[in-house]
């Protein structure tokens, strides 16, 4: 179960669980069967198969394109394929400034995504409004929808985003069945 090995992603508590079986069932079953917990194996699968919805509103989009392209290559982390329908996506990338005019659209897109779903705040404007402390700008998307990872920066370096994605992978791997579903965003009107 070493990092990079075939069992990569099975979290530590699982390792000990598997370890305790070594002398028992697993020995009988041989090397053709891997025993684990459903939570762990599903989390492991999810964390390497993010389907992004790029909600790109501003200049950070250029940086996102660089990140998704061959140089930084998000595909290495299983998060390559952008889906332009929220129904087919599970990772909402909010890339850029969200204005108050845009806010209801963001909430709608979030609500349309199927669960489990995660939100990635890309850049300082999405994270906190950035230097747009003015009449037009939402002061951080976490006032509208739950956010899993914040990556500030104007724009963030691709390395920062990759680091954020790895952090999200760690978080997803530890999630339990009972964490989902979470329902629509709390600010949603006319439920």
């Amino acid at each position: 179960m070493e990092e990079g090995g075939t069992g990569m992603g099975i979290i530590n508590s699982q390792q000990s669980a598997v370890g305790s079986l070594q002398s028992g069932e697993e020995q009988i079953l041989g090397s053709s069967v891997l025993l684990t917990k459903l939570d762990a194996i599903v989390g492991w699968g999810r964390k390497y198969s993010f389907f992004l919805y790029p909600f790109v509103t501003a200049c950070c989009g250029m940086e996102f394109m660089s990140l998704a392209g061959p140089r930084y290559d998000l595909d290495r982390f299983g998060a390559a394929l952008p889906r332009f329908s929220p129904r087919q996506a599970d990772l909402l990338f909010v890339v850029g400034t969200i204005s108050h005019k845009q806010a209801p659209i963001l909430v709608k897109v979030y609500n349309q995504m199927t669960e489990p779903k995660w939100v990635f705040s890309f850049g300082v404007c999405a994270t906190s409004g950035g230097f747009y402390d003015n009449y037009a700008t939402v002061q951080g998307i976490d006032t509208l929808i739950p956010v899993d990872v914040y990556v500030p920066g104007c724009p963030p370096r691709p390395e920062m985003v990759i680091d954020g994605l790895l952090k999200l992978q760690q978080k997803v791997a530890k999630e339990k069945w009972s964490d989902w579903p979470r329902g629509e965003a709390p600010v949603t009107k006319n439920k």
């Binding site: 005019k101 003015n134 009449y135 939402v138 600010v187």
Partner: protein, 162 residues
């Protein structure tokens, strides 16, 4: 060179002696401040006169000189593709009568510019066929680029006011 460049201001002053409040020329950068009553006629003249032919309305915007009277100024930039010349018109607009005639009848491209100036400064363009907000949303109150509008005067459609 200078004589050529000032032909616009010269002709304007000859044609509209009572409407040109002030002119200014600096390194080929020409400005005329004009009264708002004659703006359509002046624009038509600038567009159609054979020695001017300002056929391209490059920009239309507004300025809020808060505390000054008249408070607002609508600023027009025109360009002559034929003569490669530019001219700027400034039209003072008082707060008490915050209107100016629309120049859509001269350049249809002024449509969205006038809507933007209306949206953000609250200047009414008489004769505009569709004068409604273009950048902000319906239900927004006030005009945020006015200097007396609070910088953080947020009016969220959804979520907290923060």
């Amino acid at each position: 060179m200078t004589a050529m460049e000032s032909i616009t201001l010269k002709k304007l002053k000859e044609k509209f002696p009572d409407s040109i409040v002030d002119t200014h020329s600096f390194r080929g950068d020409e400005t005329a401040t004009v009264k708002k009553e004659k703006i359509i006629e002046i624009c038509k003249f600038l567009r159609d006169d054979n020695e001017l032919l300002y056929n391209f309305m490059m920009d239309l915007t507004a300025v809020d000189y808060y505390g000054r009277e008249p408070r607002f100024e609508v600023v027009y930039h025109f360009y002559s593709l034929k003569y490669n010349r530019r001219v700027r018109l400034k039209v003072p607009v008082p707060e008490s009568d915050c209107t100016v005639d629309s120049i859509i009848s001269v350049w249809i491209g002024a449509d969205w510019f006038e809507r933007e100036a209306y949206d953000l400064y609250g200047i009414i363009f008489n004769g505009h066929p569709n004068l409604k907000r273009i950048l902000l949303y319906e239900g927004f109150e006030g005009h945020p680029l006015r200097k007396d509008y609070p910088v953080r005067g947020r009016q969220p459609l959804i979520g907290p006011k923060n």
